[in-house]
């Protein structure tokens, strides 16, 4: 009861402060020239990767954390420097960040003809930094849990380790085991890694301040890699029966020869499965980030509608943002869960044994 009251008062204070903030904000365009807020651009900018970690803007100065740029150009070789070098002149060692065009927002260099050429770019961008940070954090957490098991045997764990044990064993016993079947042990370390990798990245992505907030799992390169790994595991460990079912499924012969209709469909299925994994995670996390950003922008968009409207919309915005943030925490878990569940199902399907009915037919 007491804690409920605390939460309520917290929400009220937040609403009040945000309203006051909105009023304060309202006066700025009134004094200066009103500028149009491009919400779409703002959201896309937040969702996309960048070379600096922009935190906030106080007055006219940007507060941002510079990140290292690592670029290999065919003509000028390796370039390693901090991205803050761009601030001075906009270009550094002949490299610029493209303002528009095909490589918008990426580092490019001009070739002899003046065309923009993209060098080999392995800079530690915002997403890469977040990725490395989260990976280190994950390794640290799991190894810490694993180490506490080496110390004393057979003692039931308490606190965080106990929670992680519950979490890990829940995924292991209730998702991986029933989906893969008897030789699940071979695959469970990989699938657990994927689960906690996605889950941690999702969660850290929701936190709006520095080490968090990057749109890691909402970036297609990340989900692409994860999907490729699952794709490789599914097809490398696929049984003979799995391949037979693809190229010679149990359907009427006219569906297979002369026109290999079913094999074609099955073959497409092999690729659509990881593709679905990739798109599902990517789109969900991207959408989540977009909604939160969009709802937050509601405060700034409604400034032009007058203080009353702005204040009321701020209340709505904060309420919705809180709600969507809570939903996102749920989504962070669900998406990690679904990715692992489907990966496990695909692996399980690829591990089929020839069933009895086939033997009779053959």
């Amino acid at each position: 009861m007491n804690s409920l009251r605390k939460i309520l008062s917290l929400i009220v204070i937040t609403l009040f402060l945000s309203t006051a903030f909105a009023f304060g904000k309202e006066e700025v365009p009134a004094a200066g020239k009103p500028e149009k807020l491009d919400v779409k651009e703002l959201i896309l900018e937040h969702l996309a990767d960048s070379y600096t970690w922009h935190i906030t803007k106080i007055g006219e100065t940007d507060i941002a954390i510079p990140l290292p740029v690592i670029v290999y150009s065919k003509t000028t070789g390796w370039h390693v420097f901090m991205s803050s070098a761009f601030h001075e002149k906009g270009e550094y060692e002949g490299l610029i960040i493209a303002a528009e065009g095909k490589y918008k927002g990426k580092i490019v260099e001009k070739d002899a003809k003046g065309n923009e050429v993209k060098p080999f770019d392995i800079s530690i961008t915002k997403v890469v930094f977040s990725l490395l940070f989260n990976s280190t954090l994950l390794i640290f957490i799991i190894l810490m849990v694993a180490r506490s098991y080496k110390k004393d045997t057979f003692e039931s764990k308490k606190g965080f380790v106990g929670f992680m044990e519950l979490f890990i064993m829940n995924i292991n016993d209730d998702v991986i085991k029933p989906c893969i079947g008897k030789d699940y042990r071979k695959f469970s370390p990989y699938l657990l890694t994927v689960f906690f990798f996605i889950f941690l990245n999702n969660l850290i992505g929701i936190i709006p301040i520095f080490p968090g907030g990057a749109n890691v799992t909402g970036n297609i390169a990340i989900t692409f890699t994860l999907a490729i790994c699952t794709f490789l595991i599914v097809n490398i460990f696929g049984t003979k029966e799995y391949w037979r079912e693809i190229f010679w499924p149990d359907v009427p012969v006219w569906l297979k020869v002369p026109l290999p209709l079913m094999p074609a469909i099955e073959l497409v299925g092999v690729f659509t499965k990881p593709f679905a994994l990739m798109i599902r995670l990517f789109a969900n996390m991207l959408a989540g980030h977009s909604i939160i950003l969009g709802l937050t922008c509601l405060v700034f968009v409604t400034v032009s509608l007058g203080p009353a409207m702005n204040a009321s919309m701020t209340v709505v915005s904060v309420l919705f943002t809180v709600f969507i943030n809570l939903v996102e925490v749920l989504v962070a878990y669900i998406q990690a869960y679904v990715f692992v569940l489907l990966s496990a199902v695909f692996i399980g399907l690829a591990r089929v044994e020839p069933h009895h009915a086939h033997k009779v037919k053959e």
């Binding site: 990976s135 994950l138 799991i142 694993a146 045997t153 890990i168 890694t193 297609i220 390169a221």
Partner: protein, 166 residues
């Protein structure tokens, strides 16, 4: 649209970091945890089984001890009964023996008394005889103080003998 195209630099870092994470965690992280948890589960199951077994054993031992106790109690009662029986028998025997002995003693005493009595009577008789002989002697001495009398006496006695001879 750039959102849908995987960036090559990001792919590189993702492959690298995910590869390292997967390698480390799949080798030193999750298998250790899963193995320990499963070992612990096996240990608990085993412990439960052995506890159940110990419990059963204990129940068996309890039953056995109860049986032993029961037997001991029966034995106890039996021994007590036997003891009381033998006690009674002993007492009876002793009583019988005592009464026999007493009877024998009484008999002996009576015999002794009878013997004593006979002796006493015999003694009295002898004394009476001696006394009467003494008296007779005195009487005779008195009568036979004179020679004639003595001769008379001798004659008479001789006569008597003769009479008896004839």
């Amino acid at each position: 649209m750039s959102l849908l195209l995987p960036d090559s630099g990001l792919l590189f870092w993702m492959f690298l970091s995910f590869g390292i994470v997967a390698f480390i965690l799949a080798k030193f992280g999750f298998p250790v945890i899963i193995k320990m948890v499963e070992d612990r589960k096996a240990f608990i199951d085993e412990s439960l089984l052995s506890a159940q077994k110990a419990y059963d054993d204990l129940a068996k031992v309890k039953d056995e001890s109860l049986l032993i106790l029961d037997n001991a109690r029966k034995e106890h009662v039996k021994i007590l009964n036997e003891a009381s029986q033998s006690k009674e028998m002993l007492i009876k025997d002793a009583k019988e023996k005592a009464s026999l002995e007493a009877a024998k003693l009484i008999e002996d005493a009576r015999k002794q008394i009878l013997m004593e009595k006979d002796d006493a009577i015999r003694d009295i008789r002898r004394q009476v005889a001696e006394l009467s002989v003494d008296i007779a002697e005195k009487v005779l001495r008195g009568q036979l103080e004179k020679k004639t009398e003595q001769m008379d006496m001798i004659n008479r006695l001789l006569d008597e003998i003769n009479v008896s001879k004839s």
